[in-house]
Amino acid sequence: MMNSMNNIKEVEDLVNKTVKVLKTENIDKNQIAFEIEKLEVHRLLTVLKNTGWIQLSYLSAIDWPDENKFEVVYIVFNWEKPVYIQVRTKIDRGNPVMESILPIFPGAKYYEREAHEFFGIAFPGNPDYEKQLILENWDDIPPLRKDFDPSAYSARKFPSREYPQDFSVKDPNNKTLEKTEERKKRAKALRVGGKKQ
């Protein structure tokens, strides 16, 4: 598709002309990603909207606890030149504030509310961003942060069923399975340098 490759090229030129791009990822013939500075997001989105990327497809965030950052993602789309543009920017995780893009894309209203609810990112400029949307009476850290463990939360709040019947046939002298378990535990403790896949 010659045409769509041209589109990608065009987008790349346009974005590079507008803002300083930290990182570009060519994903496929209909999609390209740019990582830019936080302060330039609004400028880029305004330019893109005026050039035809009129649809805000998605807005959300990613948690990178190792870098102590949140990454905010905006995906915009142009129906005439079919290129999805991911605009990503990293913001501080300790004090996550991102100016709302409500003046550019009014459709972002609920996406921002959701991002606030699930990550705790503040969106000044969005009048309702602090209201609860999906959760109700939430009493823990925002659930999509990586340090939130839903398993533990669930175990704490919602007991699991303990079935009376067991189906096991046990011989108290037969310790093979227990031993296997213990061995596994031991070996697990020995694993050191490996990085979690």
């Binding site: 069923r161 079935y163 296997t180 061995r183 070996a187």
Partner: protein, 668 residues
């Protein structure tokens, strides 16, 4: 409005056309294809007018791949828990079933499914190693008791036979049944020298191979030392060589040797081998050792091992079982002295196994580490000659014998006393020394054409060694191998057979040697007859021959590789009557302690046999037994916390007797 022109004209009469359905048959499913028999019965009773309206009611039979409730074929199921592992809802739990027989390759547990969790995704079916878990066409189940939704799938559902629904196929299978290709040196190349045949996995390939493992752990029980196989494989997959090395050294102090020449019962037991090619466990172990740099070994014992127990142990022989005993005794805190008759330590690893399987550097790597933790190895010191057993008994608190089977056995057939008829154990150490450069090529007595008798791994070792030397000496090889057993019951491993035949060895399987034919004082060949039966009905070795089918295998030299024998000449007269020898092996308790001589422990070939890894396990057990025997008697210094942990680990990992997996022949 213009827009409305594009629609067809609306009308109040158009919907009335539907009245035609008043005169058509209803399309709903009849109730007797919806309700179960029990519920239909209730409805019949409930109906005040027609008491038998619903007959033979039964819910609609689902299509062939319906994902209904599970059924599990217990005959096939091996309790590998892969289903439990993959279950996205944590619905499957393995429960112990000690009523099942304890056999190699199977765990005494079976899955129980919580239908309060199950999402009927059938991933458990797709990942089942044996294909025993399937789904049925049953899909109706309701109850008022929430506790009745945990069920143990068997061949039947709710005690009645069911049709099978979703089953795994080749396409849906989630396991990787094909082994990652191991790079071999080509036959043309390898016969020219003693270059190691197996090249070993690269990091990338090792990780791929490791990623095939499902961590079921059925292999562990089949391993004589019960290595933490799934765990070190996982360590490889996680690219954690150091962890892997530590895990391996928990249970096996000779990983470099075992990574190359182990009989790998674990691979026979492997659950992937149920339907595919087993994980290359042996080679993965080797990968860890090969890729672990020397300085990483220091991390296995992060503190120097010191004698904290004031007791000394002598070990006779430096084969695998002796080295294993030495390592663990040292770890437990004893002073250990090893006495070796030959010039190098290692026993069978240094003198029995061929160089192209296990090169010296690999053996040395293992032995050096054992030396490094403080085991003293005295080479060229033969028990009975340089130092007697009685002396050892006096000097040391305990003695461990691991002298092995190092004498060759020959068949007693006509002509077998000819000097060119050699036993395997006479020949193999020579070739090893030759490979090391200790002996020149001329001194190795191999004739241009050779017949090897025997079907075991050793026979192949002899044959392949002979091939190499022939090629070096004469430029071409002519080796014939004959054995009683045909291919389906050949005791040698598949790999040996394949590699051997690749290396131009002609196999005449299923023949029994009758006579070494001599002519002019020289060997002309070996006369063999067709063997019709090796084992009798009771499974005992009792071969029968068909004398009418006779062949002469021509050759100038004959090697017998029909087993090895021990040499107990070092046992002094004073102990001879106390040490009971049965079928060439010393009788002792399970841990190797000789009855009546509680200071004397035995292990390895002279006690249990028949392979290296069993020897290692004997060494481990004996070390723990020696510790039990001496610990309370001896004076102790204060131990560090770390060494206490090491002690505990050694005791904890003391292996049970291994389960022997049934061998599956893949060769035809």
């Amino acid at each position: 409005m213009d827009e409305n022109k594009k629609y067809p004209k609306s009308s109040i009469f158009k919907p009335l056309r539907h009245f035609k359905y008043l005169f058509k048959r209803p399309l709903s499913h009849p109730l007797d294809t919806v309700l179960t028999a029990k519920n239909a019965d209730y409805l019949n009773k409930n109906n005040p007018f027609r008491k038998n309206k619903l007959k033979n009611s039964q819910p609609r039979t689902g299509p062939d791949n319906l994902r209904g409730f599970h059924v599990n074929d217990w005959e096939q199921c091996i309790g590998c828990a892969t289903c439990e592992e993959i279950c996205p809802t944590a619905a499957i739990e393995m429960v112990p079933r000690h009523d099942l027989p304890l056999v190699a390759g199977k765990l005494q547990q079976r899955p129980v499914i919580d239908y309060g969790r199950c999402c009927f995704c059938a991933l458990c079916v797709d990942t089942c190693t044996t294909g025993s878990l399937k789904m049925s066409k049953e899909y109706v189940f309701g109850d008022s008791n929430p506790n009745s939704f945990k069920l143990m799938p068997t061949e039947k559902w709710q005690d009645h036979e069911v049709e099978l629904g979703y089953q795994k196929s080749e396409v849906t299978d989630l396991l990787d049944l094909k082994r990652i290709e191991m790079e071999h040196v080509s036959p043309e190349e390898r016969v020219k020298s003693y270059i190691e045949v197996i090249r070993g996995y690269s990091k990338e390939f090792a990780k791929l191979e490791a990623s095939r493992c499902v961590e079921c752990g059925v292999c562990t029980a089949s391993c004589p030392v019960q290595m933490h196989i799934p765990d070190y494989i996982r360590a490889i997959w996680e690219d954690d060589i150091e962890g892997g090395l530590k895990i391996i050294y928990e249970t096996n102090p000779l990983p470099g040797v075992c990574g190359r020449v182990c009989t790998h019962n674990c691979e026979t037991a492997c659950s992937i081998a149920q339907r595919g090619e087993a994980i290359a466990i042996r080679w993965l172990k080797r990968y860890i050792i090969d890729s672990a740099p020397d300085e990483m070994y220091e991390k296995i014992f992060s503190e120097p091992v010191s004698e904290v127990i004031n007791a000394k142990i002598a070990i006779a022989g430096s084969g695998p079982s002796s080295l294993s005993a030495a390592y663990y005794l040292r770890g437990l805190g004893y002073t250990v002295d090893v006495f070796e008759e030959k010039s190098r330590a290692g026993g069978v690893a240094s003198f029995g196994a061929p160089e192209y399987r296990i090169p010296d550097y690999a053996v040395e790597k293992d032995i050096n580490f054992i030396k490094k933790i403080g085991v003293n190895i005295y080479t060229n010191t033969k028990i009975g000659k340089d130092i007697t057993l009685e002396e050892l008994q006096k000097k040391y608190d305990a003695v461990y014998l691991g002298t092995g089977f190092f004498s060759a056995r020959k068949l007693n057939i006509p002509g077998s006393d000819h000097p060119d008829v050699m036993g395997a154990m006479d020949f193999l150490p020579i070739t090893r020394d030759f490979a090391r450069g200790a002996i020149s090529l001329e001194d190795v007595n191999v004739k241009p054409s050779v017949v090897v008798v025997g079907g075991g791994d050793v026979a192949f070792d002899v044959a392949r060694n002979a091939t190499r030397i022939q090629i070096l000496k004469y430029g071409k090889a002519n080796v014939k191998l004959t054995s009683l057993e045909t291919l389906d019951i050949l005791p040698g491993s598949d790999d040996e057979y394949l590699e051997g035949t690749e290396e131009y060895i002609n196999c005449f399987l299923g023949h029994g040697p009758q006579e070494v034919v001599l002519k002019d004082g020289k060997i002309k060949g070996l006369r063999v007859t067709k063997c019709t039966r090796v084992f009798d009905e009771t499974g005992r070795f009792n071969p029968e021959f068909d004398n009418t089918q006779e062949t002469l295998l021509e050759g100038e030299q004959v090697f017998f590789s029909v087993g090895q024998a021990p040499d107990y000449s070092y046992i002094p007269e004073s102990l001879k009557d106390k040490v009971i020898i049965e079928r060439g092996k010393i009788k002792a308790s399970q841990d190797g302690q000789v009855a009546g001589l509680d200071w004397l422990f035995v292990g390895g070939d002279i006690f249990r046999g028949p392979d290296i890894i069993t020897g290692v396990s004997d060494g481990h057990r004996a070390a723990v037994a020696i510790d039990d025997f001496l610990y309370n008697k001896s004076k102790k210094k204060e131990q560090t916390e770390y060494m206490k942990n090491v002690r505990e680990a050694i005791k904890f990992n003391n292996p049970d007797l291994a389960l022997k997996p049934e061998r599956k022949r893949t060769l035809k």
